[in-house]
Symmetry: C2
Subunit: 430 residues, 2 copies
């Protein structure tokens, strides 16, 4: 019987594994609880009204439709029986010959669960819609505010964490107030809106070289973003943020707080770690072998953000799309070789560089020690790389057109505030 | 002091009133609880994954940004003190010299409130997202179904009501199964999906001439839609629909039921009717004077779907966009004339025809007794008229491109299933 490969998760890692196994002599089942592949690097554009969710998602079924040996199951994986090669699903279980686990990570508030309610973070499409709703509503509330203090608090936006996501959000929100919405209101001047970016480390974009961090900060400040480094958040509530620095503690009155400071493994990661007696790191990631398998189970692989891979490296590989994609392709080749009885070498990450965008025509690029640059050329490169990665042709063309349109008109069209269904009679599932 | 015109509702009626009052010597306040104008005639495309919500909505502020005498308030109108010229808002009240009330209608289940939960209807963007979620999930559930009966029930879709919305939905859903999703599944043949359109009257599109109803039905049947006329729905639950005809009653096993059968006035209509002691019709619409004012209040106007206007007509004007738009423009001119002390003639509706689309390259057009046609030419006309009406240039171009893309590829890209937030800790308002 043709070997059965079960892949859990249709993100960059899982999807690339599935695509690489297409037309090979295996049966592939891709399990995801979402019906789409999400192009996460552009999620901040949905959160700030530049793109619609449909622009940055592609139905998994459509991406895989031509590959008849791959099927997609829209369901949840809930557990593992590794000795009997079984995955438990919400509605049954399935036998595998090879298992690839790639559920990714979710946001993490360092134990402050109550912060999630007041400071949404950006990981899913629903998160992005919620952030868009809050940011746009804040301007509406400011327009109707009756006191100066209230108006100011609605026009102050705090972004916690100056990693790539925090920097993107802060840059895009600054453009929203300074350009897009500038002429839309009557009682407020949206250019007076304040974006405060709070970071615990001593520079923005900690994973990048220090020189680019400085350039990133300069570009942010040119956009009017206040960057506060070496600042630790000690409390978040509906009225603002409490911040502690070496100089003491202070309070920022901000009605809108966004969280971009931490991630932790999806809970399925712990379920697998328990089943395999596999150690995890501080972020809940599973320590994997050189071939991405889990110790003791040569046919079980962990890839993407959930994998802690540090063989021969000074620090573990970061949770970024290129790592996950290369791991997905590696695992597929490894499985095909294994079936043939051939051996594979260990996984090696080929670092092609890192990019981060800051705003309109502003970005930083790190393509190795001798190729680090920022500003307009970095932004053009960023745009090109991201459009090329967009899985589907339609999305690629549409997003490019939307982008060209924004660029010419400073406009953001996807500004609808949808109402979360508060009617409890609406069931989550039909 | 410059006269103050308060307009409640940013739909076709209210928005056209505001646009016609721009640059006139009045102050205009447009009150809406949504921040966007919704192009309702294309809402069925969102419900079936063809377009994103952002494609058919435009921020009210952006449409009105150049008109400095018009401001937008995102809030709810809650009551009226007509003798003192006051509108009560959720957060205060405002004085008016002229009041234009255009809140529109909402869906109506003829007293069967429990049907709303199992059979969503199509009036708001949230409705469309919910319908899209249910329709797409039904195919996913069918793919994983364990019995034939279960599979069939998931692949049966009932649409209640064969007015324009029901016909559009049924046609688009048929295309979804027959073309768009055809190659996406492995365990099911989506072409086997059944669309049943249930109508109480003896023909589809009751407001259209009988000849076009026949052609509409023929086009629907060519798309594989089962049309059941003279059929009354007596019960809807999670398993299907009970239908009564002259021949007796029957049961249709369908896990997905959509409601397109009835509307009633927004509740604000009754609040105004009570305040003005104004009679209403069976659908809750207010009986208006020849100049669209409310009896006894020459400075209070009701326009759009909420107005019952039948002066000199065999039947009241239907609740369609062209009527609302013409009424909005009329009221604006009437107010400007009134301020100058001039008189206005009564409102006259200029019927330029009616269009309804059925599916890809299928539609019916009624442009008067000698100009009634259907099929491809009617569809092209429908497409042209609807694109021209789209308020914003960006949307117009984008929607045309999306449409061209679908037409060439049979594809529908906006197929994301979003998860309704079930976490009660997520507050509706920040």
């Amino acid at each position: 019987m043709t070997p059965h490969v079960v892949i859990i998760g249709g993100g960059f890692g899982g999807l690339n594994a599935a695509l690489s196994l297409a037309r090979r002599n295996v049966r592939v089942t891709l399990v995801d609880r979402r019906n789409v592949h999400l192009f996460q690097p552009l999620l901040y554009q949905v959160a700030t009204g530049g793109l619609s969710p449909g622009d940055i998602t592609s139905p998994l079924r459509r991406i895989l439709r031509r590959h008849r040996n791959v099927r997609v199951w829209l369901t949840d994986a809930t557990g593992f029986d590794l000795d009997n090669h079984l995955v438990q699903l919400r509605d049954g279980s399935t036998h595998y010959d090879f298992l690839v686990v790639a559920p990714g990570v979710r946001n993490h508030y360092f134990g402050h669960h109550d912060w999630a309610r007041v400071a949404p973070s950006l990981k899913t499409v629903e998160d992005a819609i919620e952030i868009r709703r809050r940011v746009l509503l804040a301007f509406e509330r400011a327009e109707l505010a009756e006191t100066d203090d209230e108006r100011k608090a609605w026009l102050t936006f705090a972004v916690i964490g100056a990693g790539p996501t925090g920097v993107e959000l802060a840059g895009a929100m600054s453009e929203l107030g300074r350009d897009t919405l500038r002429r839309d209101f009557r009682a407020i001047d949206t250019r007076a809106s304040r974006i405060v970016l709070v970071e615990g480390a001593d520079r923005t974009l900690p994973p990048f070289p220090a020189k680019l961090s400085t350039q990133c900060q300069r570009q942010l400040e040119r956009l009017g973003v206040e960057v506060r480094l070496e600042s630790r958040v000690t409390a978040i509530d509906g009225d603002g943020v409490s911040i502690e620095t070496a100089d003491g503690s202070s309070r920022l009155a901000a009605r809108t707080v966004l969280w971009a400071a931490g991630v932790t493994a999806e809970s399925l990661g712990q379920v697998l770690a328990d089943a395999a007696s596999c150690p995890t790191d501080g972020q809940g990631r599973l320590m994997v072998n050189e071939d991405l398998s889990v110790a003791g189970y040569h046919n079980v692989f962990v890839i993407g953000d959930l994998a802690h891979f540090d063989h021969g490296l000074p620090s573990p590989l970061p949770g970024i799309a290129p790592v996950a994609m290369q791991q997905g392709r590696y695992v597929a080749q490894h499985i095909v070789a294994d079936i043939r009885g051939a051996a594979s070498g260990p996984f090696r990450y080929r670092n092609k560089g890192q990019l981060a965008t800051i705003g309109r025509a502003a970005a930083v690029a790190d393509l190795g020690p001798r190729l680090r640059f920022s500003g307009y050329p970095a932004w053009i490169l960023w745009l090109f790389v991201h459009l090329m990665y967009l899985v589907e042709f339609q999305n690629r063309v549409m997003v490019l057109l939307q982008w060209a349109w924004h660029y010419i008109t400073w406009n953001r069209g996807a500004r609808i505030i949808t109402v979360p269904p508060s009617d409890p009679s609406r069931e989550p599932d039909p």
